[in-house]
């Protein structure tokens, strides 16, 4: 399984619709300071069901919605969609590809969809757990936290091993 497509609309500074087409190998993302690279990492965590605002550098739900600029009005909705390539049937589903969408409204409401069908937050987590993608996984390293794993307390490191077990 790999992340084939990522589409952002109204998520943080991605006001217009922007898309990434990834391959299964390594993709580098570059750009000037403040251009939106870490926002991409936040978008991937977010669409996978991230519940902790701190992990996506937000204080409240609405902080992920484009808040406007000198020359562009703020938006009322943030939407991120990922399309996962499931040719290798890593996910125990009969689909060659699976899409997951998350939306946030100014009201604070969140919506989740799998293959276009509304589901609950727990359904997304259950699906990803089957794919071996846990919430606080070692596979996501945020900016400035390259030495996060060794900064953890001894009992916190234990949970990492438990997650890998």
């Amino acid at each position: 399984m790999y992340l084939r497509k990522l589409s952002l609309h109204g998520f943080k500074a991605f006001a217009g619709t922007q898309e990434f087409d990834f391959t299964s190998g390594t993709t580098a993302i570059i750009g000037p300071n403040g251009s939106g690279k870490s926002n991409v990492a936040d978008a991937i965590r977010w669409v996978f069901g991230e519940q902790s605002n701190k992990n996506i550098r937000a204080k409240k739900t609405e902080d992920v919605i484009f808040f406007g600029s000198d020359t562009r009005r703020s938006m009322g909705l943030a939407e991120v969609t990922v399309v996962l390539d499931n040719e290798d049937k890593w996910l125990p589903l009969d689909f060659a590809e699976v899409s997951i969408t998350r939306r946030a409204h100014r009201s604070g409401d969140n919506e989740y969809l799998i293959n276009g069908k509304k589901v609950r937050h727990g359904d997304v987590l259950a699906l990803l757990n089957k794919a071996n993608m846990h919430q606080n996984s070692y596979a996501f390293v945020s900016q400035g936290l390259a030495d996060k794993i060794i900064e953890l307390k001894p009992f916190e490191r234990r949970t990492l091993i438990e997650e890998a077990a």
Partner: protein
């Protein structure tokens, strides 16, 4: 401590030492289980020995050595129990060129089993990637995305 935990612990410990030696070009690293008998208090200590240096429990390491040690442990966890997708945001910021090359060598090894999305400012990391995307800020302070061919970058 269950049977499953201690098997995984041993596997991760082996791999941690293997990847530490790869990124540091020598030396050794070890995970130590402490307070094992007190279930919820059980924890893991990290003891490392960069090549030629004395054994230390992390506090004397440099900024780059700490990042490399952390990366070695992350690689160990990824190799024992691979996550299909891995997102790394400027983990190479504190590394010198020689360490970046060693880091990338292992990344390539692991990218057989996992997809890596790597945010970086570093030229060497970019040249090593299969695909490159540029993100830029427009006049209206919104982000746009552009797929770049590697040859555009090297010039």
């Amino acid at each position: 401590i269950t049977e499953k935990f201690s098997t995984t612990f041993d596997l991760v410990n082996d791999k941690f030492n293997y990847f530490f030696r790869e990124v540091f070009d020598g030396g050794s690293a070890e995970l130590k289980l402490i307070n094992a008998e007190q279930k919820s208090d059980a924890g893991i200590e990290i003891i490392v020995k960069p090549p030629g240096k004395r054994l230390s429990n992390l506090s004397a390491l440099s900024g780059g050595e700490r990042a490399m040690t952390s990366v070695a442990l992350m690689f160990a966890l990824m190799s024992v129990n691979p996550s299909p997708i891995c997102v790394l945001d400027e983990v190479d910021a504190a590394l010198d060129d020689a360490n970046i090359k060693r880091f990338l060598r292992i990344l390539n090894e692991l990218s057989q089993k996992s997809q890596f999305i790597v945010i970086t400012h570093n030229r060497i990391t970019v040249q090593d990637a299969e695909t490159v995307y540029g993100v830029s800020m427009e006049q209206d302070a919104t982000s746009t995305v552009l797929s770049l061919k590697i040859k555009d970058l090297v010039n």
